[in-house]
């Protein structure tokens, strides 16, 4: 399945919804979009992986790169993911200790309970 990318704003967070396969062929497009968002001023970025059905090391590298860029810009970066196969990938690579990973957009943005990303 082809990569799909869509952006929306939720409670001062920029949410990038990703769908399809993120691999060595499609990951450069994801990197490009994330760089564009940060360059355009987005500082609280959430990448929603709900629609992703394949994610490889190249895609993981792009996500780490985006997190580093936002850290330099005093921003925040988080992932939304509840699919067990993807969560296993984060655990095996120890990236679950690097990224804030939330089960839903509501959890990532805090949505009233203060548990979401903070600057």
């Amino acid at each position: 399945m082809e990569l799909s990318l869509a952006t929306r704003t939720v409670a001062e967070h920029t949410v990038l919804e990703v769908g399809g396969e993120v691999d060595v062929y499609t990951a450069p497009r994801l990197r490009e979009r994330l760089v564009e968002l940060v360059d355009a001023g987005a500082r609280n970025v959430i990448v929603d992986l709900a629609g992703v059905d394949f994610l490889d090391s190249t895609g993981l590298g792009v996500l780490v790169g985006a997190m580093k860029r936002l850290r330099v810009a005093n921003g925040t970066f988080g992932l939304v993911c509840s699919k067990e196969p993807l969560l296993k990938i984060f655990r095996i690579t120890a990236l679950d200790q690097v990224f804030p990973i939330y089960p839903s957009i509501e959890a990532a943005t805090g949505d009233g309970d203060g548990s979401g990303l903070t600057s």
Binding site: E21, D23, V24, S57, T93, A94, V98
Partner: protein, 145 residues
């Protein structure tokens, strides 16, 4: 014994094809359905690594994927890059993963190896017998048909 051999020019777009073929042959060979996601990811990682090495060294040579199902499902992914390029494969600890000093290439290589090692119980990385290059060999059990 059935063997399927696929060779492709070292372009990222072909890695998806290798994954698709690898999973199709695995299913046909009798690999358990619940292992197929891991097979797909591992073949993809091994091919991604081979493509990256060929591009790094400017090698136009084809990358080869060989699948056989004699007793188990064995997949060999063969590159032709200098052998020293394969040295230094290591899983990175969490504090290094997010370090500013780590290049994107080093991160992707480390993460890719962690995925291979994490998803494949029977994994070997060894020099090819003739000329430069490395063979990544992965084996999965098959169910009796």
């Amino acid at each position: 014994m059935a063997t399927v051999r696929l060779s492709f020019s070292p372009a990222p777009v072909h890695v998806r094809t290798a994954r698709l073929v690898g999973v199709a042959v695995a299913r046909r060979a009798g690999v358990a359905e619940e292992l197929l996601d891991e097979v797909r990811l591992a073949i993809g990682e091994a091919c991604t690594r081979a493509v990256a090495l060929h591009n790094q060294y400017g090698l136009p040579d084809l990358v080869t994927v060989e699948m056989s199902d004699s007793e188990a499902y064995a997949v060999r992914v063969i590159d032709h890059a200098p052998i020293e390029a394969s040295v230094g494969l290591a899983k990175l600890p969490p504090d290094e993963l997010a370090a500013e000093s780590l290049t994107d290439e080093a991160l992707t290589t480390g993460v890719g190896f962690a995925l291979l090692a994490g998803f494949v119980d029977d994994l070997q990385v060894r020099p090819v017998e003739d000329g430069p290059g490395t063979e990544v060999r992965m084996v999965w059990p098959v169910q009796r048909r």
